[in-house]
């Protein structure tokens, strides 16, 4: 018998794919040169990138980090790279970097805003991340007082006594709620808290400060500047505006025509005018609307107006969240016999707020960028305010790009980080609901 085998017993070694079908060549062909149109676009894009790099690189390479004035910078660049060469003068950043971050905050006290900033993350962690123990929420509640004390200094009792106002509110509410129901009890609580602030706050602070006191060096609002100011305005405004925004959103969804009309009117008015006119209102018009001889400093006025501004935008964001909830949730709450506030508190708002968080973060990014506009009412924002102050120094008069690049890069890092986080949240929440 012949043993003929028509079946090959050993395999040929695998051939590598043709040169055009593998590795970089394939990737290039498929992603960059897949057709005439794509090829042209790729070449154009490469040319644009080349132009940008060619324009910026020498300027960056000639950068000077150590000099005491712009003219010294120019001299160093001329000596190093020849007459007429252009170069960045980073020395101004090197010398004044802290002013863009902290404004005129006393230099030996920089640890205070830094600590407040770090603690901010601890305070918002339980809201933003699931894995953080929920006990931290207590810290979130006391954080505003702590932050206020750290930033502005003075007696520790001021913020504590002010916080007690909220404790008063809660106690009055708890006591009155079984007797007269939710809304009247809440009203009574607010009245009690306001009475506390108006009449007992100052004596209580004085009394406690007389007993024992913990003082931090007081810092004036006018010393705030740079990113410290931007973050203070942004964070305060967004956190104050959240409760107002929720109320406005509920008001806009309400069955009660007057409440609805007022909410819609407020939201549309604020959204219809530029922020800059609201800032000018804070600086020019508030003096007309408040009782004669009232004055409080421009930063607080700006924060109030920015809060109202953010509240109108947040109201729309939260309205979106409310609208996204399936109708069944409302009906289920009704079926359980919950009244309006219980239904909102236990069923509707937790879900609506959760799906709104990405948009709230986006609103915050927008607001944070908009804090640069406060320079138009004379505050020291990082972009124009501090930069102008630095340029008024005779050593640095005439400096242009370096501060903008520094400030722009910082803004980019912060905002980009936040927007990435909000996208991550969006992805996470999406899977929850599908």
């Amino acid at each position: 018998m012949q043993t003929l085998s028509y079946v090959r017993t050993e395999m040929l070694p695998q051939q590598p794919a043709p040169l055009g079908e593998r590795g970089a060549a394939k990737w290039l062909r498929e992603n960059l040169f897949s057709g005439p149109v794509n090829t042209i676009m790729t070449l154009l894009a490469l040319y644009v990138i080349y132009l940008i790099i060619a324009a910026i690189t020498p300027w960056l390479l000639n950068g000077v980090w150590n000099a005491s004035s712009l003219s010294e910078c120019r001299a160093i660049i001329a000596a190093a790279a020849g007459e007429g060469a252009s170069g960045a003068c980073w020395a101004v950043i090197n010398e004044r970097w802290h002013q863009w971050l902290f404004g005129f905050y006393p230099q030996d006290q920089y640890w205070r805003p830094t600590l407040a900033f770090v603690l901010l993350f601890v305070a918002i962690a339980p809201v933003l991340f699931d894995r953080v123990p929920k006990q931290l929420l207590w810290f979130t509640l006391i954080y505003p007082a702590l932050c206020f004390w750290l930033l502005w200094g003075g007696s520790v009792w001021g913020p504590i006594v002010a916080m007690i106002g909220f404790v008063v509110l809660a106690i009055v509410y708890r006591l009155a709620q079984p007797l007269i129901g939710i809304s009247p009890a809440a009203g009574a609580g607010v009245v009690a808290a306001i009475l506390w602030w108006l009449f007992l706050d100052v004596p209580a602070v004085n009394l406690l400060a007389g007993l024992a006191d913990l003082q931090l060096q007081p810092v004036r609002s006018s010393d705030f500047g740079g990113f410290l100011l931007a973050i203070t305005i942004g964070v305060t405004a967004i956190s104050f505006s959240l409760p107002i925004g929720i109320l406005l959103a509920l008001g806009r969804q309400s069955d009660m025509p007057i409440v609805k009309l007022l909410s819609v009117g407020f939201i549309e008015f604020i959204r219809g005018v530029p922020l800059i006119t609201l800032l000018f209102t804070a600086s020019l018009l508030l003096q007309y609307f408040l009782p004669p001889n009232t004055e409080f400093d421009i930063i607080l006025r700006v924060i109030i107006l920015v809060t109202l501004f953010a509240a109108a935008y947040l109201a729309e964001v939260i309205r979106g969240g409310l609208a996204a909830l399936p109708r069944g949730q409302y009906e289920a709450a009704d079926a359980l016999g919950l009244d309006y506030w219980r239904a909102q508190r236990l069923i509707i708002l937790p879900q609506a707020l959760k799906i709104s968080i990405p948009s709230i973060v986006s609103t915050f990014i927008g607001l944070f960028k908009d804090t640069t506009l406060v320079s138009f009412v004379g505050l020291l924002d990082p972009l124009r305010g501090v930069t102008n102050v630095v340029r008024a120094d005779i050593n640095w008069k005439g400096i242009y790009w370096e501060p903008y690049i520094y400030v722009g890069a910082l803004f980019f890092i912060i905002c980009f980080g936040m927007s990435r986080y909000s996208m991550y949240l969006e992805q996470k929440l999406k899977t929850d609901h599908r």
Partner: protein, 425 residues
């Protein structure tokens, strides 16, 4: 036997205003209204007291006094002898001159970038992502400055365009020269471009204080008329094709209809271009586009365009992949798939957030303050306010102006939105 559905027929008791959900709403509304009225009364009272304390009055008479200052860009005829009211109108026109082209251009940029971000070309997609992220995460104010400054720093001064006799003798070229056959000059002052002029204009018509330029009106009518006639011709060709299967050649008719009447109109009115010429200090004649205007417009377009691009991308991604596949199955090319199948459907998702971007852009024109563009805020809310000291009146007028603008944009856009929404029957 009593039916449970019958409500107990109790008489009305005052306590029901609080405890009965049927009436509680009225109580709450009453309290809210009362508080609101008190608040408004408090504001008004404070305002009146403050005005009295400062010895000021609240009136708008100052609007009719002489403004006394000059404005660089005037779309409405204006000199410093005109009233503050006229200056305000100039400012409003300047705001619109940024807002309207801004919205249109930002939409175009946004759609192109949004589509290109999904491109298969790796480099292009990455570049567009970088563009979108950079513009979205850096304040607009910085962009306005970053665009404005190079326009002024990297261009030449008008005198660098001058050709003197010595230079001709020495065979030297001037440092800078004009573009497009000596018709457009880009200098540190702005962009000087030719201005269309008519030797025999049709005059203008005064309609209740607003003068309408009849020449431009006539040109518009002629263009629209030619387009309409052209559509009739093509519709006829379509009908012939459907009934006979042969499409008549119509391109030469279209060309004639579209061009002849307009050329005739231009000849009849004596159309010519006024070119900018170099005078002692500046280019004069033609149109001058200030760099502050151009930079503000470009910055707003690029900034808002980045946001619109994200909206467009989201809208396209929201359309199910099956639509694209179905369209490929019908044999449509990718470009036509995008323009005929995907974008029209995505539009429904895109339009509502797009409206709010238009509103943002319009409101952001007020940032012209950064490059000293004299818009509504710069005239009424800036120099006029400053020179007259009438903060209350000027600020209220300005807010009202922006509010009306915003309401107009959102109502027009909403009408359009309603017309393209899916009609569910």
């Amino acid at each position: 036997m009593a039916y449970a559905s019958d409500a107990p027929k109790d008489g009305f008791r005052p306590s029901m205003l609080i405890y009965d959900t049927r009436y509680r709403g009225y109580t709450i509304q009453f309290i809210v209204l009362l508080l609101f009225a008190l608040f408004v009364a408090w504001l008004l009272n404070n305002t009146l007291e403050n005005l009295a304390a400062k010895g000021r009055t609240f009136n708008f008479g100052f609007l009719w006094s002489r403004a006394g200052y000059d404005i660089e860009q005037t779309l409405v005829p204006y000199t410093n002898d005109n009233s503050h009211f006229r200056a305000w109108m100039v400012g409003l026109a300047n705001t619109l001159a940024v807002a309207i082209p801004g919205c249109i251009l930002a939409t175009i940029v946004g759609v192109i970038v949004g589509v290109l971000r999904l491109s298969k070309n790796w480099l292009i997609a990455r570049l567009m992502t970088v563009y979108v992220e950079i513009f979205r995460n850096i304040p607009l104010l910085l962009w306005i400055l970053m665009i404005f400054v190079p326009m002024r720093e990297l261009t030449y001064e008008p005198r660098d365009f001058r050709v003197t006799d010595e230079m001709i003798a020495a065979g030297q070229e001037p440092a800078a020269s004009m573009w497009f056959n000596d018709s457009v000059a880009i200098s540190t002052r702005g962009i000087n471009a030719p201005l269309p002029l008519f030797d025999r204009p049709l005059g203008s018509l005064n309609l209740g204080g607003v003068s309408v330029n009849l020449t431009f009106l006539a040109a518009l009518v002629i263009v629209l008329g030619s387009v309409w006639v052209n559509r009739q011709i093509r519709a006829r060709a379509q009908r012939v094709q459907e009934s006979t299967g042969v499409r008549p050649t119509t391109w030469w008719q279209s060309v004639l209809v579209l061009t002849l009447p307009f050329i005739a109109f231009l000849l009849a009115t004596g159309f010519h271009l006024e070119y900018p010429t170099l005078t002692r200090f500046n280019f004069s004649g033609g149109i001058l586009l200030q760099h502050s205007y151009t930079a503000l417009l470009i910055a707003l377009v690029l900034y808002t365009g980045a946001f619109i691009a994200e909206i467009v991308r989201g809208g396209i991604l929201a359309i199910s992949r099956g639509q694209t596949e179905a369209s490929y199955a019908l044999g449509l090319r990718p470009g036509r798939t995008m323009s005929l199948v995907i974008l029209p459907q995505a539009l429904r998702v895109i339009i509502p957030p797009l409206i709010s971007q238009f509103l943002n852009l319009t409101k952001n024109t007020s940032l012209g303050i950064a490059v000293s563009y004299l818009d509504l805020r710069g005239t009424l809310g800036g120099i006029t306010l400053n020179q007259t000291g009438r903060e209350l009146e000027c600020m209220l007028l300005m807010m009202l102006n922006y509010l009306i603008l915003s309401l107009m944009i959102s109502s027009v856009a909403n009408i359009y939105n309603r017309s393209i929404q899916l009609k569910e029957r």
